[in-house]
Point group: D2
Chain length 336, copies 4
């Protein structure tokens, strides 16, 4: 294994109050579970709009959903917002104005989404060598999208190594479990519609996550076009991205490139076998591999990258960012 | 709809005896079901090696599995061989020598698989304008693979129209249900291993179906490289291929190109929405759509193509070929 | 096999116009598919409330959903109502007043549901020796519920044979696929909520179908109490009922009792193996078996009964009833 | 909540060496994962027969499978045997003779299975008030079966309270995920055979677990007959039992009876809602509820009981027993 393990933690009292806005969705619920198990955090509040007044049980702790308006967002050290895209921004502003640090899981403040009134740091610690330091000092972190986390961590080492063919078209196919679409009742997400089925959606570069990826790739200095095609899988959780990258030269050992790039990352696993959803379920990791394709005139690298869309693709990465922002061990209580 | 419907059939007696070698697998079983419902065929025998002596019930008809050695392969008009790859060839030879026509579902005689001692016609009626005539007069038909049927029917009209960028790399990602891997007991195909999971396999152009596709693309005159990456889906049946094709110019209306190409084909559906597995389950059709990708410097077409791997990808196409070989209505009794 | 096969049908023109009220649900859609394939029926209209103006494609036939108010319910020979429970009754009345025969798939007119203003015949042809004749002459048929069909056909022969222990408690556990709950978007029916899960619902005799079963058992002369516990399965379609019946004496050969009772029924399969959902999927059959339990002081029979909730449990049985009402072959075009 | 939480543990060094015989099956693998995360245990060895020489990765720890013959079974404090039924007994004897404590997950030493040469304590700590003390002092513990754990913990409080109708027949229907059948490759456990399906098996009291339940019920002093019918669910893990119990009188508040019985049990959850598999997945708990059935002449209680067959039904309960045997906190590191 090239990765470093997180240090074993020593229990302390749960002395850091945090809150969750939008706790009734799948990501918000996952956040609450991770917070309840976290050795340093105490869950001061969890809000839900339609389900306010209801409660969920995590382990033996009962958590009542507050109306967001009545949540003590100024009495916590950090607010996680898992509010719907579009609705999050004003609450991030409010929490920030009140002095709390914020991790925003919506796309409102992510690169390429055009909101400039609030300055947010993009919260993908493994993306560049300087990413972690920026997150540590950030007041607001835009937590990355699930697809971008899976795909950008597969591409960044190639861009950094300068091996991508300039002007090339990178094809990023990805398939996600249904929790990526949230738990609002929609006919197309019913069991009877999803089971035994599979289909693309958001095709031809119409999915919103493309903007986030294009803007980030530009900041990395990549001169490429992306074709991003997401698909809906009949599974609850997990994303697998299968990415073909034209290179300017064949790589003898593409895995070494990735192993070097992620040698000290506890949450990126570079493996020689095929990453699969069951490898990453309920864990805060990206697991990836890469192979040169045989028989093509343009040297072509095939990268496969997997994560749990609710953990490393959402709530787990949010905890990781919060750990960094609050000066804690980055790995605290994350299932790696 | 651009397609022509099959003519409504009039019942006749089941006057054409046919047999199935290798009837205990998923494709063989599907063949038996289609034969039992076919208005002209009578199932003279079905063989199975490990399960000989056992029987299956289709509708109210009980079908006993014979030892292949005791099957009357010379007393039938046509033999379907659904024997395992590698084991099929000698039985095809035997049946052929005895005077029967043969539809071979293995890859033993498909293009690119290097068996030249027996001359077989590749049985994909919609592939070219002359394909159907060749099948009609063939004594032996090599029934295409499931992935090649799904992918080649998506590519052939583009090659015929001369719009593919010469020397380009075509990326064909595909995902298949588990029946594509057969019903021999293997740990990696257990429910506990496949459910809630998804992974690639046969990556980097190592899957055998690539040879069949490359050889066929060459006969079509295509100057391209293929990158083919199959994936295993947690569904029983169905394949969806998502294919990106660099073009030499943007197409204003890619659907028209496909609609024109397949205007008279009863088993190809060109649609404007997203093809999904449930659209094609238990039907002898390929369903496809195509969209120009936004925002790439190289004009890029995104094609999505779906079929049922056991029907149009195996047993249904075999019946379609048998219908042609025996001078019957091509559509006879196929679920379109 | 003890069953008689349906006679092979000869094609005639589709000369009997029928209509479907409430065609957008799972049962309504299944009805439309069976009607389109039916040799005698032509689908004159299909209505949908929320989805009016939309269309579905069945085979190559496009079917537009009408507003119910504009449907020509008086110009058809027979109206199928797949409207929601409670909403169906006034439409049944209207269709009946206009002279059409009606098959009502809601529970509004089923036994035990307390609507006496309209006289309906309970449409389970195999229930008693006189059931079929009553259906043939009925103007309105109440199509049975899915659970009652599965359970009552498992119990009726025992009651008729007088072997049930008087005053006994019969335990009927059943598990159903999610299409039994319809396709209205509800959170608890999302893929993410149903997959990898299983639970009871409508427990302690609170499910509405119990009334239908109790009322029917009373008409059969049974002196028993039923405990009915339905469960939600992570499958799309199918019901399996597992029923324990205290008997007044042990039966040497319980299968013979069932085989005799259903000897001339084309849509009841008495088998010696375990009925499973895949045996009955997309077929208009009930498949059942029965075994004496070992080691109990009270002689106890264990019956397992399976059907497809959308076919024999809804649309298929509706077609079967319509065939009888219109003097057609009962089996016409039903997938047995 | 009536339950007591486990005390929060303080980390100590992993100072207790334990070993796992038969680590390649689902239960063995789950055991290894729980041991690796356990604060006091170190995994000294894991054996596998067919897969010896292979390795699995748990978190960042690689675990190589030894040949059982070369495992240092005498150098550990406790041996878990997850060997196949029948093969376990001689290894339990060997480990015991060498001085190790043993938790045997096979049925070889469970009540009703007829092996008397080795004295084992039945390891279900919540079954009776004296069970825990017996386990603490045991050298060999027979870890209960998954179905018996689910069903006996639902029945024991009723027997202890003396409310079950003497001589009555208790009907225990249960449905299990496929991991309960192990991961040996068998055709009937392939994804293509299990998905979208459901069926009973081991019917009419032929399942081996019935003996374990009957023998245990006898020791509890129950005068009842059991009818046990297991079913195979298309899910990976989890068991739900639905149990009908004739009572000698109606209970006003059956939940209170259970809440009192399990008031101090950390791993039994008595709830008012419907237990479902997702409530108990990956947790070492039994979750149950009970309701008086309406409308039956014999007062009848309907109990629903759920657990994860690999955790509380196997590996989790094994760790719980090992914790007791070794004088550790019973809850150490178990996911409750």
């Amino acid at each position: 294994m090239t990765q470093h393990d997180c240090m074993i933690m020593h229990y302390r009292v749960n002395d850091i109050p945090v809150g969750v806005l939008g706790a009734s969705g799948y990501a918000g619920r996952e956040l609450c579970e991770l917070i309840v198990r976290h050795p340093h955090f105490s869950l001061a509040f969890a809000t839900a709009n339609a389900q306010r007044g209801q409660a969920i049980t995590i382990g033996s702790q009962e958590i009542a959903f507050l109306d967001p308006e009545s949540a003590p967002i100024h009495d916590v050290a950090l607010v996680f917002s898992a509010l719907p895209h579009g609705a999050s921004l004003p609450w991030v502003q409010r929490a920030h104005d009140g002095g709390a640090r914020v991790v925003d899981l919506s796309h409102d403040l992510r690169p390429g989404n055009g909101n400039s009134q609030l300055e947010a740091v993009y919260g993908m610690p493994e993306l560049t060598v300087s990413a972690r330091a920026a997150i540590r000092s950030a007041r607001i972190v835009a937590n990355p999208g699930c697809y971008p986390t899976c795909i950008l961590l597969a591409l960044a080492p190639l861009v950094a190594a300068g091996v991508v063919l300039p002007g090339a078209t990178i094809i990023a196919n990805a398939a996600s479990g249904v929790t990526g679409a949230g738990n609002s009742p929609k006919r197309e997400l019913l069991f009877g519609e999803v089971a035994e089925d599979f289909r693309a959606y958001g095709v031809a570069n119409s999915h919103r996550h493309l903007k986030e990826m294009n803007a980030t790739m530009a900041t990395l200095g990549a001169d490429v076009d992306l074709v991003f095609t997401p698909h809906l899988l009949p599974v609850a959780r997990g994303i697998l991205a299968t990415i073909t990258v034209p290179l300017d030269r064949a790589l003898d050992d593409p895995l070494s490139l990735y192993r070097d790039a992620y040698a000290s990352e506890p949450f990126v696993e570079v493996v020689s076998g095929e990453p699969r959803l069951s490898d990453v379920a309920r864990r805060n990791v990206v697991r990836l591999t890469a192979t040169m394709v045989v028989g093509t005139r343009t040297p072509t690298l095939l990268v496969r990258s997997a994560l749990d869309n609710l953990v490393k693709g959402a709530a787990g990465q949010a905890i990781q960012n919060a750990n960094l922002m609050l000066g804690l061990d980055e790995c605290a209580w994350l299932p790696a």
